[in-house]
């Protein structure tokens, strides 16, 4: 009766049925809502985050009663007052901020030529080598790497042994501020390179040729062309490195020998050593606040466009 039906493959019919069912469940008139529906998981995640922050905010307003080890019932700003006035906290905060700043600058200085070479090199063998050397540490966790440094830089480690060969008595390379910064830089380098490389790829090599034909030596060409055009990458990489360093726990804990605490270590101590959740919550919130303010400032100064967000490259 309907011969055309016979030529209609079974798969198509199944698809038709599925489409009909889908149409019933999700009428076309709803389709305008689809993008919002897809936002839902993200909103949910953000919601959970906000809820957590509210909880932490609540804890931060309560103090610890050491006769019952319970949090106080009434709200007080005592924790904040302590955090901002006690020397221990200001020392640790200062150390973390200063350390993160140094780590960021040093990491960017190292990462810049690295990614430049990786992007510009003619030799694909060198490029592959640089990429592998970059990714290898990614597969080795942060803690394992830090322990690796303990072995390499320890008093009886490889470095001191090598120094011993030339008659230098073992020197303490670990358990101090420079060791922590060194560990952080080494840990952050891949992140920075990965954020810088795309920004550099986006700079045509011809621009550098042009600059040199116009009279720029490589330093000028670097300063006036490569550097300003890498700004989005530098800002992005800088933000990532700074925030990751500022909140790092393992490297200061392992390479710092206990006397080089960063904020995260202080927070850990409050939660897990002195059982003072209120103080821990306060420090956490302050850390979030400092981080957010800094990110906000960077956006204000450089514009959100620096992270390749939004159309115009301001």
């Amino acid at each position: 009766m309907r011969p055309s039906r016979a030529a209609y493959p079974i798969r198509w019919r199944v698809m038709d049925i599925l489409e009909q069912v889908a149409g019933k469940l999700w009428p076309r008139s709803f389709s305008a809502g689809l993008p919002y529906l897809m936002l839902l998981p993200a909103l949910l995640l953000v919601g959970v985050l906000v809820w957590g922050l509210v909880e932490i905010g609540d804890s931060s307003l309560r103090t610890l009663d050491t006769s019952t080890f319970l949090m106080s019932e009434n709200y007080t700003l005592a924790n904040y007052q302590r955090a901002l006035s006690e020397r221990f906290f200001t020392t640790v905060a200062g150390r973390s901020l200063m350390g993160s700043l140094i780590v960021t600058v040093v990491t960017l200085i190292f990462a810049f030529p690295y990614s430049y070479l990786m992007v510009r090199t003619q030799s694909s063998a060198l490029r592959k080598f640089l990429l592998v050397a970059l990714f290898l540490p990614f597969f080795i966790g942060q803690v394992v790497r830090a322990y690796g440094w303990l072995i390499i830089l320890g008093n009886q480690g490889m470095v001191n042994e090598a120094l011993g060969l030339v008659g230098v008595t073992p020197i303490r390379l670990l358990y101090n501020y420079p060791a922590v910064l060194f560990g952080l830089v080494q840990y952050m380098l891949p992140f920075a390179v990965l954020m810088l490389a795309p920004a550099m790829t986006a700079i045509p090599a011809e621009l550098e040729s042009a600059a040199s034909s116009l009279g720029a030596n490589w330093i000028s060409s670097f300063r006036h062309i490569v550097l300003p055009l890498s700004k989005p990458g530098l800002v992005g990489a800088g933000l990532v490195v700074f925030t990751l360093s500022l909140t790092d726990f393992a490297i200061p804990a392992i390479l710092g020998g206990g006397s080089q605490d960063f904020i995260a270590n202080a927070i850990y101590d409050q939660f897990f050593r002195t059982s003072d959740q209120g103080m821990g919550a306060t420090l956490s919130l302050l850390l979030v606040a400092v981080g957010s303010i800094l990110v906000g400032l960077v956006f204000m100064v450089f514009g959100a466009g620096t992270l390749a967000m939004g159309g115009d490259r301001k």
């Binding site: 042009a210 040199s212 116009l214 009279g215 720029a216 006036h224």
Partner: protein, 379 residues
């Protein structure tokens, strides 16, 4: 190959020449990008390097600019060897194929860049920048960002930038390739005007033969990394040095056959059994009797008429049948099958279509041309 341009005195001009390229070769791995290229370009002249894609034009230009070092041979600029001179110390303005304008600077900043790099007096820079922007007809556009300019305007900024520091030499690497035809033709004339106004020695690279003919004082034709001919546009067109040049420039018919007679310049070929007369072309050896050769004949050199009447003065007259008539606006191109020439198809231009009789496919026509218009090259 006839790499050395005919009629250009050697040695003595080397010192006077603005650019002198001497037996320069460039090898990338197993690719011979440029082979023993040599030419001298006098000061103030506009040279175009013309050639098909991959013929080594950009490579040659990059070596002159100093971005690549020649594998062999030497380049002299203003009489000085430049082997050891890095690009930023050569006084060369270059306009790149993709312009290479600095996107984070305004038009004026782009133009000011070479002046700053060359440590010009900061007080004179703004005035100079404005002057050059005006030269390229962009007066008042200085404050615009590069992405706020049209393609043609960007082109002009690139030119102003390359010229503002008054370089000894201007290099243009197909900067017009990306433009639409109308704008391209406008810019070609613009180049010509500016170059004449400033008198700067210029080397332009293109694979657009029309551009080469329009703007150049001299044309270098390249193929396979080798220079095929260096001559003034008229000569390049009228007296191609070899079959490649003849074929590459203009619409050219080739008639192949064996040489049946040679006397001085005059040569007769047997094409499909018919005797066709021409003259020896290029500087290569005149083909000997019995050798295979090809006669190159421009489409516009062939006369077309319904009958052979009025063709009495022409050395070669044949009859054929129109296979196709292609209307190109200012002219009509006929494709004519000629049985006498072994069924060869000749392309023929007919200008000013109104006053001439027009033909359609299937029409019988007579074709005729002078012996001096057909260049015979050894195969």
């Amino acid at each position: 190959m006839s790499a050395a341009p005919a009629g250009v005195p050697q040695q003595e001009t080397a010192a006077a020449a603005a650019v002198s390229v001497k037996r320069v070769s460039k090898v990338f791995g197993d690719v011979h990008a440029v082979r023993e290229a040599s030419f001298d370009l006098p000061k103030g002249r506009f040279l175009t390097i013309l050639g098909p894609s991959g013929s080594g034009k950009t490579t040659l230009l990059r070596m002159i600019a100093g971005f690549d070092a020649p594998t062999e041979g030497d380049i002299y600029i203003g009489g000085q060897p430049v082997k050891a001179v890095p690009p930023h110390k050569r006084a060369i303005g270059m306009v790149f194929q993709k312009l290479a304008l600095f996107p984070h600077m305004t038009a004026a900043e782009n133009v000011a860049f070479p002046l700053k790099m060359r440590r010009h007096d900061a007080r004179t820079i703004p005035e100079k920048v404005e002057r050059y922007l005006e030269l390229v007809r962009l007066g008042g556009y200085g404050k615009r960002r590069i992405d706020e300019l049209s393609g043609g305007q960007q082109q002009r900024v690139a030119i102003a930038r390359a010229l503002v520091f008054e370089p000894d030499l201007l290099l243009l690497d197909e900067p017009l390739a990306a433009l639409d035809r109308k704008l391209r033709e406008e810019m070609q004339l613009e180049f010509r005007r500016i170059q004449k106004e400033l008198g700067v020695t210029t080397i332009n690279v293109t694979h657009d033969q029309r551009e080469a003919l329009v703007v150049s004082d001299e044309i270098v034709v390249m193929d396979g990394g080798e220079i095929q001919q260096m001559a003034q546009p008229v000569h390049t067109y009228r007296t191609p040095a070899n079959a490649f040049v003849a074929n590459f420039i203009g619409v050219t018919n080739f008639l192949e056959g064996s040489v049946v007679e040679t006397s001085n310049e005059a040569i007769a070929l047997s094409v499909g059994g018919m005797r066709v007369k021409g003259v020896a072309g290029g500087t290569a050896k005149v083909p000997a009797q019995g050798e295979l050769a090809a006669g190159a004949l421009r489409a516009e050199q062939i006369r077309i008429a319904p009958t052979v009447q009025g063709f009495s003065g022409l050395a070669n007259v044949v009859s054929g049948e129109v296979r196709d008539a292609i209307f190109e606006g200012e002219r009509i191109v006929y494709e004519v099958v000629v049985p006498e020439l072994g069924g060869a198809v000749l392309r023929v231009f007919d200008h000013d279509a109104e006053s001439h009789q027009q033909f359609g496919p299937g029409d019988s026509v007579a074709l005729g041309w002078n012996a001096k218009d057909m260049y015979i090259f050894k195969k």
